[in-house]
Symmetry: C2
Subunit: 291 residues, 2 copies
Amino acid sequence: MLRDQVMTDASRRWFTEHERFMHSAFALQTKEKLHEEQSPFQHIEIYATESFGNLMVIDGCIMLTSKDNFFYHEMISHPVLFTHRAPKSVWIIGGGDCGTLREVLKHSGVEQVLQIEIDERVTRLAERYFPELCQANDDPRAEMQFIDGIAWAADAPADSVDIIIVDSTDPIGPAKGLFGADFYRDCRRCLREDGLFIQQSESPLFHLGIIANMRRAMREARFVRQQTLFFPQCVYPSGWWSVTMAGNVPLHAFRRDDAAGKAFATSYYNHEIHSAALAQPEFFKQALAAE
Amino acid sequence: MLRDQVMTDASRRWFTEHERFMHSAFALQTKEKLHEEQSPFQHIEIYATESFGNLMVIDGCIMLTSKDNFFYHEMISHPVLFTHRAPKSVWIIGGGDCGTLREVLKHSGVEQVLQIEIDERVTRLAERYFPELCQANDDPRAEMQFIDGIAWAADAPADSVDIIIVDSTDPIGPAKGLFGADFYRDCRRCLREDGLFIQQSESPLFHLGIIANMRRAMREARFVRQQTLFFPQCVYPSGWWSVTMAGNVPLHAFRRDDAAGKAFATSYYNHEIHSAALAQPEFFKQALAAE
């Protein structure tokens, strides 16, 4: 999310995140700081907030709150899973809070999910402070490895997975390599022929250039099609977020009847919201057409 | 938007708005305060911001910025205009910044727009600091009256208008009466038989109770159908906003071909975004079903 400078005013008990490029800020009133540590990879803080439940902050950027993480976790999971014809195996690269894992495992056809998170501390803290997101961690279909996702994708066998979900931090610091053509090329090689790739792609209002760069790198990696999906996400800069899907099959079409008849509960996603997320705002269409 | 307490830290040059119920805050970095006054109705401030152009604040609440007002103004105008079969006359109640007026007048079939804003100072300041929103103010089809919209609707003749747009501040202070069944009943009487009513309806994430109350009051006023539409709005609390339409005709259907072939430019709205805005999030459907 390309933000720097954190102003945590202890006396007022607000956690504030400043967005560097658009000179805006978002803040949540906190009750107390529950935890703080420097992991081998990043600085992690956990707060109890007044109205958003618990809050996880990494390197000064808001990662998630108990209250509103459902938008992101549902929208990075269900659209791609209902777009694939019959997904059996899924990799989640990043996703240490386990919220994406929980959503993916709601799909009964999925036989195997491998979560590849570089920082085990994120998962251990999620287990403690966001236990509802970790409900599915003991599912026999789930496996966790705490290793580097970029190295993993470079070494993994070809044609070995149906869906790769990249649920990472912003394209600065450790996650930078997850937004480039080399990584996308490795993922494409690991995916089966009808496989799908999806990645969080920042704010359509604040970070249009990042989305355009991602889509260009996906094309370089010979993903024939790209599709950006849009959804609200209150605690991320601009309050509006996106995920971008890549693959070699039509990405607008999805198993609509299966989505409409899904046997599991969601808070934001349904088949109509899936269609809605595919609609491209006028300024976005024009910006991509000008590429 | 039910917010109080403004913290304007002159030394840091940030304008901060606190959301009282959800204990969150949003801030924009400012370059200078361009204007401040107490009108007969409210306290108005104008700032130049670092990245959002000019900013108008009323009674401590962010009303609009140059950068992102297009979401709101397009979504309170085009969906209702393309839902009506052939709108010729439109009232805008509130809308003093004239951005809604400009969008409405883009529809060539519209013959007459009456803007009823209680506070002339808002319009005069918009002309000065948001001239792009006032481009259509001299259109011969436009008329402005600076009077109380509630009194206007109580006295206006029955069956006299096709569309009423309520583009007001939050349901506290002077705008409170614009959110009640008495006002809705007056509007219903003024509307022609196939007439449509639309009103800004706050954040679906923060103010679900307000939306539920509005829809209940609309039913009390014997509007048979209600339809809430959703869209991003970065500078309003939660970054996600809504408008709610009421009428006695199906509100899901719209003149899709006309919207797809519209002869005017927009930044967010298009026919696909119109369909998308109609999709009801799962939690929203469940909350309304429980009513």
